[in-house]
Symmetry: none
Subunit: 204 residues, 4 copies
DNA sequence: TCCTAACCGAGACGGTACGTCGCGTCTTAGG
DNA sequence: CCTAAGACGCGACGTACCGTCTCGGTTAGGA
């Protein structure tokens, strides 16, 4: 078949990429990341722990940050945002935010997120990648929740969805990054309630 | 006078710290910071531009981040949050947030804030210093605004002030750091209105 | 061949050491050494002149002194002590000492030798290396000259060879290091004659 | 009296130099010198141990080496070469060299001498000072011993005194600096005997 | 069954910045 | 005028990572 033939032709000639090496590198990066934070780990350390060559790492990941992105993304891939349609905006937001808030505060992800956000500021290419992997999916999910609320008539049709998303996620990120107070279930409830209250009352 | 005499005796023995050198270092740090971001500047570069010795820098600032903190704090010291009692929560919050949002988005402070927040994650001492200098003052100011609103009966007396502060500042930090949308006056108005709406409506 | 195969297997795994870099470093060290002396040259200067990295230098030479030792040894390797059997102790010693005395006084080696001898005092490992490279070979050569003289019956069989070697080399080193008088051919002749006279007359 | 008046005028106006400070500095320098060697001590360390200011040290000693010279000279001042006329060259040389050889090998003076000789190579002014303090006196003393031997007819009147002095002292310095063999009484005896034999036998 | 391309590890390479140390000078207060 | 304390500009230290590069060796498909 043509397609299969094409694929077969696209299969590179020489030795194929080592899957075990790829996994070892991502695993080593994840471990070091959560242990020491991004800034204090080095490519040398990742290579040594993964028993891999630095050249191999650089062949597949252009920078430490993109490697990091892959590493935590592959960890979070399991934590897929599930479909949850409870029938009310409050219920949907709770269903969406509670597991997420628990997940990001359960492990020292704050240092990883903070480091990646620092990289975003100075590297637009990385910024795009960061958004596509870590930001857009969750915002899209929350956006559908808001869209359903509009359909149900709970909130105004002309609601500024982007501002609403920032109102929802902003407080969580702030506590995560500044660490001035606990990111617990109580806070999640309060914040979700605030957001619902802000959107269901027509803006004066 | 006795007090003056005491102070004179407390004056340390050796050569006093050079004020001109201190200013030159902070100035050089500020300039390089806004030009290139924290991660890509070096102590060597700061020392060279300030015509100072690296040893002098390290004598007074244990780390690049604490130097940065001092540098931008001395810049923002002029930007003191003014007293603003407009008579309504909406008015007060606008008066508080509009100049601040304009200021932090006018210059490339995002990369600086992001880098400092990254450092906060891994260095508790620095975290305390960061809070005392950059976080606490602004939150305290906003807290008095909320307190006045409680006095006026605009919002409930049992309002969770901390959560309210996060609801207010979170969205701004999120746009600042993620850069996914403009941090303009329109956004400030929308967010302030959201916060007021969230707090004036009793939580269900 | 088996042996060759073994050698081929012993070839270390990674990128082999750069021979051109090694030579450039030794050459730069030699030049700077004779220009400015050991104490006033820096590893930075050597690295810059050799267009090499400081890390590369430290990878192969633990200290400035061992680098120096290698550098002047590779210069002196050409100045190999030739075989000279003239038939008499006086003739042999002249043949041995005249070229050497001329060589060490022709260039500013005194500052190098002095600096290395200073290092010898505080670093036993370096002392061993210094002896093996710069001291032992010449003393061994002179020792054979004395041995031949014993065989010929010119000097007593129970001559204290070590003391004789010190009697021979000591005066040269003293003038070289203290610089109180010229280290010229006349001095070489006088000293050699003194040594011969001291050894050929039976000690009372 | 005029002279006294002149002296009184030459007496500087202000606070006189502190003798206790001078002694403390020399003492600290001596201790550190023999403990660690010249190259690994610092002016800061001397100042700290002597509880003196660095400025005070630099006011009176232009360099570390000249301070060192003063320090060991003040130690050796007690070890004055005594007058010793035994009636024979051998006896005089033994009387001269035995105490000296014992003294310089009893403590770790080798590292001090070696460091000073290294400085001599690169600093002519220091070289002159070094000779005047440590070299000339001893050579002058030995020269008078040789002069007496000439008067007594033990050695030739046209003996090259400078070469003879180098023949005498060279072996001792060589063993002291190279440390390849013990600088014991036996070696002193052997060397003195060699020197006497070399000088009493007419050069061919 | 070879050939050859692309992979892999190990590790040396030229750089840049690090944080520290010592130098010799200076600026204070005080004896 | 001297002394102590100690900050200063300067330059070198030895180390850690960076991203690149050369090796020998491995693993596949294509000839």
């Amino acid at each position: 078949m043509a397609t299969q033939g094409t694929i077969e032709h696209l299969r590179r000639r020489g030795r194929p990429r080592s899957e075990s090496s790829r996994r070892a590198i991502l695993r080593a990066a994840s471990e070091l990341l959560l242990e020491h934070g991004l800034s204090s780990i080095s490519m040398d350390a990742v290579a040594e722990r993964a028993r891999a060559s630095k050249a191999t790492i650089y062949r597949w990941w252009p920078s430490k940050e993109l490697l990091t992105l892959d590493a935590i993304f592959s960890e979070w891939a399991t934590l897929a945002p599930e479909r949850c349609d409870t029938g009310s905006l409050t219920g949907d937001l709770h269903a969406l935010m509670l597991p997420w808030a628990r997940a990001i505060s359960a492990r020292p992800y704050a240092r990883v997120i903070a480091a990646l956000l620092a990289k975003v500021q100075s590297d637009p290419d990385f910024g795009r990648e960061y958004h596509a992997r870590l930001v857009r999916p969750r915002r899209a999910h929350a956006a559908t929740v808001f869209a359903m609320a509009i359909e149900r008539g709970e909130i105004a049709p002309d609601t500024d969805i982007e501002a609403a998303l920032d109102l929802l996620y902003g407080p969580f990120y702030l506590r995560l990054l500044q660490g001035h107070a606990a990111l617990d279930d109580r806070f999640t409830h309060t914040t979700v309630d605030h957001v619902v209250a802000a959107l269901t009352r027509p803006l004066t």
